[in-house]
Structures are given as structure tokens and as C-alpha cells.
């Protein structure tokens, strides 16, 4: 049988995490938005130099009434490249989007 181990336990009442991005030959590049924490305030939009965020109706939960932040569709496929300007090889400062979010709903996988 397989030796598959969950990196973290799957919680039934856990947050709804939307993972936008991709995994390709060169690595995993995902921005995860905790949609339970996100209330659609839009602070992320102001600070992102790549215009990667937008706020609106939750596309993946048609019944949700509160707006939510999503990664713009055209940026999703280029996430590694779009985020490159905030991720210099050395002296990497804290990420503007992560810092700006008052609910700490944003995290990057790389």
C-alpha cells in the first residue's frame, strides 16, 4: 500500500483555501487565499505592482454574498513571472500583498 502522508490534517470545519497558480517542471507557484478570512476589502489590490488581484463575487462559491479576493485569470498562469518583481533573489523584503492584508488571508508557496 502507498505511504501517503498528509502534510496537515484535513479539517472538515476548516477554512476554504483557494489556491491559484500552478506546478510545472520548475516548481510550485501558488498564492493561497483563505476565503473564510477574506472579506473583500481590496487592500491587496492597492499594493500589488503586477495587478494580480481583483475583488468581486466569489466565482467558486456562487452562493456566497460577501465579495472575495481572487487572482486575476490572466495572471494565474504567469504567477511565477508576475510575482518576480517582488521576489528578488537576495534581500527579499516582506511581500506587499501578504503584509497589506488585515486578515492575514494571503500566503505564497514560494
Amino acid at each position: 500500500m502507498g505511504e501517503f502522508r498528509l502534510p496537515r490534517p484535513f479539517q472538515k470545519e476548516g477554512p476554504m483555501i483557494a489556491n491559484y497558480g500552478y506546478k510545472d517542471g520548475s516548481g510550485d507557484f501558488f498564492i493561497a487565499i483563505d476565503t473564510d478570512k477574506c472579506d473583500g476589502c481590496g487592500a491587496c489590490i492597492e499594493v500589488c505592482p503586477a495587478q494580480a488581484f481583483e475583488v468581486g463575487e466569489d466565482p467558486n462559491d456562487p452562493l456566497r454574498e460577501e465579495p472575495v479576493a481572487v487572482i486575476v485569470e490572466s495572471v494565474r498562469k504567469k504567477l511565477k513571472y508576475a510575482c518576480a518583481q517582488c521576489k528578488p533573489v537576495t534581500d527579499r523584503p516582506p511581500l506587499p500583498c501578504v503584509q497589506a492584508c488585515p486578515a492575514e488571508a494571503i500566503s505564497h508557496s514560494w
Partner: protein, 292 residues
């Protein structure tokens, strides 16, 4: 690229035990992907008819084409009598007769819940040009997801590249990959372009097709597992999309996960359209209750 090898079986089906005339709510869901398109018609939330075809390069018309193909076999049902249609998939903007568009993530969760039952919690959709992992609850509501449509690895298109390289039809790839005595090491490149060069090298070194297919299917299964590792997994587990029909990938995936996927009772490619048709029904009911 030679035309024949991608040719997975296009299909359609009409429910022999149901007539749309006996139902109250007739709804449809249309899923337009870059590789394939599906249309599903439901009567009072029961599966009535569906069609699954290749999108081809005529994507603006693929929605109406697949819908017409599904309607053809029905008992005289025409598009005017369908009360509500939801479009989904990459080409959801190209479903001109839809009243609304809903993302494939939401539709796949709903569709998987219908097709596999309320116990399904993790859905792996391996489509033509994307590969996504979705968590849902007992009602088919999305609770987590991981969407991956940038890279061809783990998608139907990746499989098609190999079908073309090995001169094997897509329908046979699964079976063929299982005809090995010993499981070879997986292809080391994730990237389909580099994996193809690697496979060419293996063929030149004398590897039979079956062995190369086994190595590639193994790499694909491994990739899916790493995606699931990022999002976590809970049973019951189900696979949708075209690659769910590839026994070679499915068995290897189940082996590496240590979990058996639920047995599909319907064509695994219709999950998105099923979910869309169910959303249609919910929206019709909502409108009706508002009027009361």
C-alpha cells in the same frame, strides 16, 4: 500531428427510462473546454441526456454543436424548452444560449457529488488542459481547491503528445501501460516537451512502447500525488475528466495514495456539465420561490 491518435471516443446517451415531458424543470449545463465539450440535460435533477465531443478549433460554436448533438437523440426536446442553461469551463463565455456562467471548480464539485454520491470529499479532475484538486462537502459545495492550468504535465494534452510519439491511440494507452512485468522508474522530466525527448531516448535504447508508457503514466500519477499533498486528501476520493478513463494512470495513482478511487458509473468527462445543469435547476427553483 497525425490526426488519429487523439481520437478518444466521443459519446452521447439518452436516458431510456425518462421523458422530459413528464418533468417540471428541464435544465442544461454546457462545459466548453479547450480540448473537449460536454452538454448535459437534466429533468428535475435527474440525468436525462448528455453528449461529449472534441472542441476542435471552432470553439465559439462548440457549445451549440455539442448541445444540438445531445438534443438530437432526445424525444423531441428542443433548446427552447430547456428552461435554464449554465455555461462552464474555459470557454464558458462562448455559450451564447446560457443564462449564466459558473466556474468549473464549483461545477465540478457539484457534479462529482451527483455522480459519486455525498460521501465524496476529494475530487481530482484531470482534464484536457488542466489538472485540479477540489475538496467538497456532502452537498457538493467547494471547501478547498487547487487549480492548475498553466502546465501540460498531468493533462490530456500531455497524454496526446505521448499518444502521437508512440503511435498508440489514446483509448489503448491505459491498458498498454499495464503490460509490463516490472514497473520501470518514472520519466524524470515533469515538462511534457522534455519528457518527450527523454522518451525518444528510451525508445532508441530499446525500450518497448509498453515500458515507456508505464514510465510516463507513473510520472503522471506522481505529479497528481504531489498536488494532493499540497491541499491534503480525505476519502472518499474520486477522479473526473478524460484521464479517469486511463486505467494505467488511475491504478498507479491509487497505489501511491494507498486509497481506491470511487468507481465511476457515468462518463467521467461530464462532471462539469452535470454540476452546471444542477446549478441551473437550483437557480430555476430560486426564481420560482421568489415569485411565490
Amino acid at each position: 500531428m497525425a490526426e488519429e491518435y487523439w481520437r478518444w471516443t466521443e459519446s452521447r446517451w439518452t436516458n431510456p427510462d425518462l421523458s422530459w415531458k413528464d418533468g417540471e424543470i428541464v435544465t442544461a449545463g454546457v462545459d466548453v473546454g479547450s480540448v473537449s465539450s460536454q452538454a448535459v440535460i437534466m429533468v428535475d435533477g435527474r440525468l436525462y441526456a448528455y453528449a461529449n465531443t472534441r472542441t476542435g478549433s471552432d470553439s465559439p460554436n462548440s457549445a451549440i454543436n455539442v448541445m444540438n448533438w445531445a438534443l438530437e437523440e432526445t424525444d423531441g426536446l428542443s433548446l427552447d424548452q430547456v428552461q435554464y442553461t449554465v455555461g462552464t469551463g474555459y470557454g464558458r463565455v462562448n455559450v451564447p444560449f446560457a443564462q449564466r456562467a459558473i466556474t468549473e471548480i464549483a461545477c465540478h464539485a457539484r457534479g462529482a457529488n451527483f455522480m459519486y454520491g455525498p460521501t465524496v470529499r476529494t475530487v481530482m479532475d484531470m482534464g484536457g488542459q488542466d489538472c485540479k484538486a477540489i475538496h467538497c462537502d456532502e452537498k457538493g459545495k467547494v471547501t478547498n481547491f487547487l487549480m492548475n492550468d498553466k502546465c501540460a504535465a498531468g493533462t490530456g494534452r500531455g497524454m496526446e503528445v505521448f499518444a502521437d510519439l508512440l503511435n498508440v491511440s489514446i483509448n489503448e494507452m491505459g491498458e498498454l501501460s499495464l503490460r509490463v512485468e516490472e514497473e520501470p522508474p518514472p520519466v524524470s522530466s515533469t515538462c511534457v516537451v522534455f519528457a518527450k525527448s527523454e522518451a525518444s531516448g528510451l525508445l532508441r535504447a530499446g525500450w518497448p512502447k509498453e515500458k515507456v508508457l508505464a514510465a510516463y503514466s507513473s510520472a503522471m500519477a506522481h505529479r497528481v500525488v504531489s498536488l494532493l499533498e499540497r491541499i491534503g486528501m480525505e476519502e472518499d476520493f474520486a477522479i473526473t475528466g478524460g484521464i479517469a478513463k486511463n486505467k494505467g494512470v488511475v491504478l498507479r495513482l491509487e497505489k501511491e495514495l494507498g486509497v481506491k478511487a470511487l468507481e465511476p458509473k457515468y462518463d467521467t468527462q461530464i462532471a462539469g456539465a452535470v454540476g452546471a445543469a444542477l446549478f441551473s435547476k437550483a437557480l430555476v427553483e430560486k426564481e420560482k420561490s421568489k415569485k411565490k
